[in-house]
């Protein structure tokens, strides 16, 4: 059940009607049932896995609260983290490790493979679950007593399969002191759903056709122009795809009275790599910062330790996306860029927000660096990554794979992004008098009609993680 299908919208309407017509005490049960139904519609078998992890971390939370600080408490934490990482490792990384082990032993790469199907959203819900257990361990979050509450935290359908990764304290604040959404919440929720749908179907999917065409047959599209345009198409696809999904998730949560954190803040307007990571997949970046980078020592241990911590954090962040050398290199590349940038900047504060005359150059350089990184993210394997990079930097000529209207679409997106960044256009539209708000919605619907890819169900990219 993809978010951009009629089937999903029918499901959402039924959930909203049931939720608001049921007595208040029943509502979380309705959400829980709907969330498991949503998950089961993908693959019912993995409900058992979801329940197992939920049960382990629910019990771990209660246990941690009862055990006094000391080795036993630490052991509980380690048990919970090991369970989460164990499941994640088995489903996501077993075959990767097995292939590399087989190669090291001189055996065929597939000789140790298992037929493993990756459970949908496992990277997201395990990270969410682990953050809860760590927060309880740190004393920053009381253990949740009600198993239904905890299960809902893990499987709440708007963010179950691709985030944003919600912190326990925020979720339970909304759940335990649930308030009906305000008119502003509903207006914002509806707006975000329409915006997300437009981003996904009218922008991401149009660019996806080009990017998929290029990466499925790189050799058939030789030349630097083809390579740059194929990678450019992917850069726009992944942004609109993932941020569109997130907008819809945040919007749906708002309609149900929950407030999710912002996950994207116009990342391609970033004027430095550091700034980019403050704007891209914010819920993951902040998770990595709080549960990995800072525990590793953050920037407290001097220059070289900071670089090491940045590298380790980004390498693991890369690996979180998928089990392949490509993701590891992508993470390493980002870590290296962050370290280099930090070294060049010295002690000076980040200049990302200054819109002076240098801004377009800095933003363009950051975007180009992001494009190079996306090659590793998108290419099927390391060989293809090298092939694409060789074309980008050493290829001659070739054909631009994008039509002029693609550039028009990109320019429109850029104008809207700058408008939102500098003058909060979307925010103003949400708060504007009803006719203006309705006109903004109508324009989005018209964009969907005229530009939306309606006949090809292109899955959300982050559903594979």
């Amino acid at each position: 059940m993809l978010f951009n299908t009629t089937q999903f919208f029918l499901f959402l309407v039924v959930v909203l009607v049931l939720f608001y017509t049921a007595p208040r005490a029943w509502r979380k049960y309705i959400l829980l049932g709907a969330s498991y139904y949503f998950y089961a519609s993908w693959n019912a078998k993995f409900i058992a896995l979801l329940l197992t992890l939920t049960a382990i971390d629910y019990c771990a939370g209660l246990w941690l609260e009862r055990v006094a600080p000391g080795p036993r408490r630490k052991a509980v934490l380690i048990f919970s983290l090991a369970a989460n990482l164990g499941f994640l490792g088995f489903f996501k990384y077993y075959n990767f490790l097995a292939a590399n082990l087989a190669l090291a032993l001189g055996r065929p790469p597939h000789s140790l493979f298992l037929e493993i199907v990756l459970p949908l959203g496992i990277s997201f819900h395990t990270f969410q679950s682990m953050s809860y257990v760590v927060d309880v361990y740190r004393g920053q979050q009381p253990a949740v007593r009600n198993p239904v509450d905890y299960a809902l935290f893990i499987c709440f359908f708007p963010q179950l399969v691709a985030g944003p990764i919600v912190r326990a304290r925020n979720f339970f604040r909304d759940l335990w002191a649930w308030q009906p959404p305000s008119p502003d919440d509903v207006a914002r929720g509806v707006f975000l759903i329409a915006l997300g749908l437009t981003k996904k179907m009218a922008f991401a999917d149009q660019f996806a056709k080009v990017a998929n065409g290029y990466f499925s047959a790189v050799a058939a599209h030789p030349g630097a122009l083809a390579a740059w345009s194929g990678v450019f198409a992917f850069a726009l696809q992944i942004y609109f795809d993932f941020s569109g999904y997130t907008d819809m998730a945040i919007g749906m949560a708002k309609l149900l009275g929950f407030h999710f954190p912002i996950n994207f803040q116009r990342p391609y307007l970033a004027a430095s790599v550091t700034d980019f990571w403050r704007r891209w997949h914010i819920s993951l970046s902040s998770w990595l910062r709080d549960y990995l980078y800072i525990p590793l020592g953050g920037s407290r241990g001097g220059r070289w330790l900071t670089y090491r911590n940045l590298m380790l954090t980004m390498l693991l962040g890369g690996l979180w996306h998928g089990a392949s050398w490509n993701f590891l290199i992508w993470g390493g590349y980002q870590g290296a860029l962050l370290s280099i940038e930090r070294a060049l900047r010295g002690g000076r504060p980040l200049a990302g927000d200054d819109w002076d005359w240098t801004y377009p150059f800095r933003a363009l350089a950051t975007f180009v660096l992001a494009l190079i990184g996306w090659v590793f993210f998108r290419a099927a394997d390391l060989r293809q990554s090298v092939q694409v990079l060789a074309q980008m930097f050493g290829g001659s000529g070739g054909h631009v794979l994008l039509e002029p209207w693609h550039f028009g679409l990109a320019a429109l997106a850029l104008i809207l992004a700058i408008g939102e960044e500098k003058w909060e256009w979307f925010e103003r539209a949400i708060r504007a008098p009803m006719p203006v708000y309705a006109a903004a919605l109508a324009v989005m619907l018209f964009c969907l009609e005229v530009f939306g890819v309606l006949d090809a169900a292109i899955p959300f990219i982050y559903f594979q993680f």
């Binding site: 919440d185 039509e403 009803m434 309705a438 109508a442 018209f446």
Partner: protein, 362 residues
């Protein structure tokens, strides 16, 4: 604060936005604003251009105007047919569009002849009077949506949708007839890519479409050498004619299929609707079996379960031309491929067709 209170404003806005969407769609696609700049060679573009050409041509002719409708197989030269006017007393105009069927002709005629009195006769060219289910299901052919997109009105949405059997086709027909931007999407994207080129194409066709089409000549090529063995369903194709081989294999050399009756139902519905429109008017409707091909399928391979067209002939004002009137044209010398007459074929057919229609209308 209640949920109802919170929902009131956004719900009102959503209703307003949906209304705004329909208003925008109507403004751009139902006013003729976008139709004027459609790609001239696209399905909708060709359909619209022919419709416009025929509307503009109507005042040039008198009361004895005959309009012909059909697909690409109805290939004749109106200029040659009109050379017979002295003997036939008729003027011919062709509003046929390649790839269309009677469902599209219905919408074409509705806008071409809104008062139902413009034509002395309407000639409908068909491949056969028997309702044999052919190589594909014509009833679910979504090409009609693309041909007629600019003609469909809000009142057509439901009947047009329900005229398709397949659920997927119905959904596409529904959304496309309701929101035309969906149908025109590819055209719009192409226009946005090269607006100047498009406008130049449109201006070029605005200037010379009538002359170009009225003076058009089909190619002189033929398919001499084509032989079909109906006992083994194999064909000998003249060398170097891959397109002909494809035509023959896909659309002619198919073995008789179990008859579903879908074609009969489709014809009853749409020819019936078209005839109902002209019931009680002075306009005659003529059915005409066209030259079928260089080597037509033999009679024993045609399933003659029903003939809706013959049934219609009992209605007042409905005429059937002689089924065998053009069989003399069905030779490889007069066809350029598996279905279409060549230059010599078109020329001969134009004269014969004009005389046949005149004979029927006398």
């Amino acid at each position: 604060m209640t949920v109802a209170h919170s929902v009131r404003r956004p719900l009102g806005a959503v209703i307003l936005a949906v209304a705004g969407l329909f208003a925008l769609d109507a403004l751009v696609f139902r006013t003729g604003f976008y139709t004027r700049i459609l790609e001239t060679e696209s399905t909708t573009g060709v359909f619209e251009r022919i419709l416009l050409r025929e509307q503009q041509a109507q005042p040039w002719y008198g009361r004895n105007l005959v309009v012909t409708l059909g697909d690409s197989r109805f290939a004749y030269y109106p200029r040659v047919a009109n050379q017979q006017t002295a003997t036939t007393g008729l003027a011919f105009r062709h509003a046929g569009v390649a790839g269309t069927d009677v469902r599209a002709w219905y919408y074409m005629l509705r806008d071409l002849d809104p008062t139902r009195e413009r034509y002395r006769a309407i000639v409908l060219g068909v491949d056969d009077y028997d309702d044999e289910d052919g190589a594909y299901d014509i009833g679910d052919d979504l090409a009609t949506l693309h041909y007629t997109a600019a003609r469909l009105r809000f009142s057509d949405v439901i009947p047009f949708t329900l005229s398709f059997d397949d659920r997927h086709a119905r959904w596409e027909a529904f959304r496309g007839s309701l929101l035309k931007g969906i149908v025109f999407q590819r055209d719009i994207l192409a226009f946005l890519s090269h607006p100047q080129k498009r406008l130049a194409n449109v201006a070029r066709d605005d200037g010379g479409y009538e002359e170009w089409t009225y003076g058009y000549n089909a190619p002189d090529s033929n398919v001499v050498g084509l032989k079909i063995d109906w006992s083994t369903f194999t064909a000998v194709i003249p060398p170097g004619n891959a397109e002909l081989a494809d035509h023959i294999n896909r659309f002619i050399l198919y073995r008789p299929k179990p008859q579903t009756g879908k074609r009969a139902a489709f014809r009853r519905k749409w020819f019936g609707q078209l005839l109902d429109r002209y019931r009680g008017t002075p306009t005659k409707v003529v059915f005409m079996r066209l030259p079928r091909g260089p080597i037509p399928r033999p009679d024993n391979l045609v399933r003659k379960l029903s003939s809706s067209i013959r049934e219609f002939s009992s209605r007042p004002g409905v005429l059937l031309s002689d089924e065998h009137a053009f069989e003399s044209l069905e030779t490889p010398e007069l066809f350029k491929d598996g279905f279409h007459l060549n230059n010599a074929g078109c020329a001969r057919f134009s004269v014969m067709m004009a005389q046949e229609v005149a004979k029927l209308l006398r």
